[in-house]
Amino acid sequence: MKKELSRKGFRIVFHAAIRWKNWKLITGFHVFRDFKLEANHLEEHSHLEEEDPSIELGKLVALFEMTEDYQEFNDVSEANPEITMQLLGKV
């Protein structure tokens, strides 16, 4: 998935959010912030700022199914790679 994402050309380090039908995709640091990660967890990742950020790909993308999960608790991007790629293509 990591390779596919970079091939698409959209850099998921950018802050973005898109809604398409019942799906919502979020990319970038928002994904961290809005998941209320502990401060030490952020610190743990802060060294990545200097490196290639794409090594943490999975954590910079979140996908939600909005009909059932309108509270956005369950990131289903891994389980729905096709929808995830489609929405990344749209942004």
Binding site: G9, F14, H15, I26, E72
Partner: protein
Amino acid sequence: MDRAIGRVVETLQRANMWENSIIVFANDNGGKSGLSNNWPFQRAKSSILEGGIRVPSFIHSNLLPKSRLGERTDNLMDMTDWLPTMLSMAGCDSQPPTGKVLDGVDQSEMLTSEVENVPEVGPRDEILHHLDYLKTYPHRNLQDPREVCHFLSSATNLFSSF
């Protein structure tokens, strides 16, 4: 706020314009953190989680069909849709005469049709909530503005060359 809206309504009624008016109450973002409750959604104003961006709106007009009174729709609608929608409801062309195309979608048909004719999926199936090329991975902004110009000017794929 209630008083202010009341004054608008009263003034329209006094001026005999009420029957031919459309009142829209809209929101630009969710309530601010610490001051409001956006339940059941997470987060608040400035977040791209629903607590920051999903808001109620209502429309009132005697021009709307009676069957829509008190009815609700959960179809997607973006703030930018109000301009073409209101233009269309006012009997104007919903697009500007300059040939430029508005981002907003004309939702007038969805809003003015009888309750049994409201489509389950409205004219809009997509909203770009947010796209910020200046903000990247933890708090790092692009230093060189030329980088931004570069991919803004790339007509084929905004991000392919970056």
